[in-house]
Amino acid sequence: MKRLAAVVALLGLATATACSSGSTNKSSSGGGGGLFTTIDVNRPGLDASAPANPYNPKGNSFSGFNAMRIAWVKNHLTDPNQALPGIAASWEIAPDNSAITLKLQPNAKWSDGKPVTAEDVKMSIGIAYTQGSTAFSVTPGAAGAAAEVTVVDPQTLKITQDMANPSPKFARGVLDTAVLPAHVWSGVLPADFWDKLKAARGEGADAEKARAEITTLGQKVLTFAPPKDVSAGPFVLERVNPGEALLVKNKNFYNAANVAPAQVKFLNYTGNEQIWNYLTAGKLDSSGFVAAPTDVMNRIKAAPGSEVIKGYSPVAVSMAFNQSKKPYDNVHVRRGLAYLIDRDQVTKVASPEGGTPAITTSGIHQKAAQAWIPDTLPKLEPYKPDVAKAEAEFKDAGLTKKDGKWLLADGKAWKVSMHAPAGFSDWLSAQENIKSQLIKAGVDAEVVTTTDYPLYLEELAAGKYDVGFWLMALGPAPYDIFQRLYGASNGWTNVAGKIEHSPAGKNGNWMGDPEQIEVDGAKINPGELTGKLNSATEDQAKPIMAQLATAANQDLPVIQLWDYVNNQFVNNSRFTGWPHDDEILRLGTGVLASGVWIQLGMVKSKQ
């Protein structure tokens, strides 16, 4: 009897699955040229049961499609506060960065017909506080945190910055905030939330308690599941199954008339290899950056209608040293290694399509460096491959060469042990190539992998590795660029606008540079200089950046290997009008640029 019941249940399940897949097919073909197919590059693996909540790590909320932000911050080379309009149609930033006044879209409506008001935005800011965003942080003394949020009228809000520790990218932090419907989410925040927030920003035991309560609220926000998707974006979530998520056009969207696709389908994928398959088959209308080897890239380009738009990506990858481990505490060893590694070769093998070899170690992406430090850049040591120079540096460091192999100063064997997370094929490939280059030059080397990226970062921060790969030059804000080299991971923390240095091995300092380093014969404190960037204007920042670039170039806490290229894959068979402008090819963290292009009316249907 039980067996019979099980069979019946299984059959029922099979029928249900068959029905659901059948209806999906129907809706896909029904859309005709109006169906836009893409993937969420930020999140492998669709989860059919995840809520439409932008803060949920698996949430079925696709930023730019069915999730809106106040505005869409651009990828400008130097100005972090530039953005494309989102829920805010326009905004005004006070000249001293002390406040931002937002004017909302006059016709903005939620998909259930209710208008989007300043109260919705205020509540969304409250939600952002529970997650600790850059502008909305309850951490005492955090840089660039907001002080007051005032609703001026139903279409206008004013947000002021706490000028005790201001940041030039305060406006960016405000604009890059998700907007949620207050009539759906209001239950998540308690009625006295804003009083609590005020208490949390004070000092003493009460403030501690209030902060803890807000952090607890953060957990509630992460798991909150709206009964159905209520979106202010161009699309609204229709349904999700493990294979795909289907979104339909939101007729109430303020710019609905210019939104080309009638439906959007997000395909499920688990790894890059699956995305390559979709792209070579010409299935995707758009996909964000995906690393691909040259052969695969050629196949993708050969797909009908396929186009690869190359743009600027403010990210570089470097080989970082743990200076608590010998011999990496010696700058001559680091320089010697820089002379041994042929970065052109590394990039050619590891990331020929997704990267450009670093011209030198400056701490800045080469494209941004042209804008920030055009005069200093040519003066920096390029570290072109040069075995003689490398040997001279090694000798300066006291290393000895015996039977063609370099030994440590104390005569012990030296093996450069490089670490990378297992799934990062381009990093692994690069390390394998570096290993080969080093072994040929008499430096023993090995490549060691860690199961996944979070564990890798944890072990790296705990100082377990000698050498590891490290993302750097994360623009556009100057502080963000240099804090990767002279920030918390190297001992300098910014607490309430004051820079403090922790010794190597303490408080997440795994790089272990000394507090003062010598640059052109003079001692400087690079962490303090980096801290200054947090409140400097563009013109003030330039000389500091030049100084820091010189410091990074001479001190080499890392060897900059290649600067990433932003490859956007699009297909012109069904839609056209793709932007080629660097600044909007890549938007804020987690934003799917194609959704923003669609909502702004750039993307046109071909039929």
Binding site: N272, P293, D295, N298, K348, V349, S429, S436, T449
Partner: protein, 302 residues
């Protein structure tokens, strides 16, 4: 007189038996050429594992100008994404795979057989306790456990890998050997041995074990394939530390780094370790087939 004669006759009988046995083996082998092929394959793999890496330098030469090349005369299975010869990678990588497989097989068989024999022969309380332990062991799913273990243990050496796989794999053998022992111990020849007052040691080592030898040997060979699949699978999934010439890592990189499913250039890189595994399995299957006939008189056609 007779006292001196009997041992002589005994020795010559056993020598004759041994000769007859090897003659039988040869006859069985000759009957199907595929069996000879199996032996050649296994000997070849053993040779590759032991001596293969000696033919190559410690650090295989790479070539950044010839990455992921299709098969050619210079590189029979093409090159990997570092421009290294794929055949060289398969050969240098064979030592880890085969050594750990051998260790696994050894542990599975020694552990499983001794436990099964002891349990089946002693019966009673010992049997119950040991078999419940075996049952419990059998309920532990191997692969998920290995995935968890891999996060804490790095399996740097093939011996470690083999040890863990072996300790995970003896359950089936123990159960089967126990069943065989239970059936054999009731047979006439064991009863006769007991009646003659022969020691337990003699009965187990001279009477029981030889009758089960083919069975154990087959299990051992099958354990080799199981171990190869398990560790190649683990490396393929990327949960174990990366070693560029490991077969599983090669498969992983072929698919996820070189794009072997998309471009034909990386096909050789994907096929080489696969073919090696296939060939090894084939060799084992053919030898097992021969063994079956050698030890099972009923299958002999003569």
């Amino acid at each position: 007189m007779s006292d001196t004669l009997i041992p002589e006759t005994g020795m010559s009988t056993s020598a004759t038996m041994r000769r007859n046995f090897w003659l039988g083996v040869w006859r069985v082998m000759k009957r199907k050429p595929s069996r000879m092929a199996g032996v050649v394959i296994i000997v070849g793999f053993a040779f590759m594992g032991v001596f293969g890496p000696m033919f190559f330098p410690d650090h295989l030469p790479d070539n950044p100008n010839a990455i992921t090349q299709p098969p050619s005369w210079a590189h029979w299975f093409g090159t990997d994404p570092q421009g290294r010869d794929v055949v060289a990678l398969v050969i240098t990588g064979s030592r880890y795979v085969l050594l750990s497989a051998a260790v696994t097989a050894l542990i599975t068989v020694v552990f499983g057989t001794s436990l099964g024999l002891f349990s089946g022969f002693k019966r009673g309380r010992w049997d119950t306790v040991l078999m419940r332990i075996t049952d419990m062991k059998l309920t532990i799913p191997g692969l998920p456990l290995l995935l968890v273990l891999a996060t804490v243990w790095k399996f740097g050496s093939p011996i470690q890998m083999g040890l863990v796989l072996g300790l995970l794999g003896w359950g089936g053998v123990a159960r089967a050997v126990r069943a065989q022992t239970l059936s054999l111990r009731e047979r006439g020849f064991i009863e006769a041995a007991r009646g003659l007052g022969l020691s337990t040691k003699h009965i187990i080592s001279k009477e029981l074990l030889p009758s089960m030898a083919p069975y154990i040997a087959m299990n051992m060979l099958i354990a080799v394939t199981g171990a190869v699949y398990a560790q190649v699978g683990l490396f393929f999934l990327g949960v174990l530390p990366y070693e560029s010439d490991n077969w599983g890592v090669m498969l992983n990189l072929a698919v996820f780094q070189a794009g072997a499913m998309i471009t034909t250039n990386a096909l050789g890189y994907l096929l080489a370790p696969l073919l090696a595994i296939l060939l090894l399995t084939l060799g084992i299957v053919l030898v097992v087939d021969a063994m079956d006939e050698i030890f099972n008189p009923r299958l002999r056609e003569e």
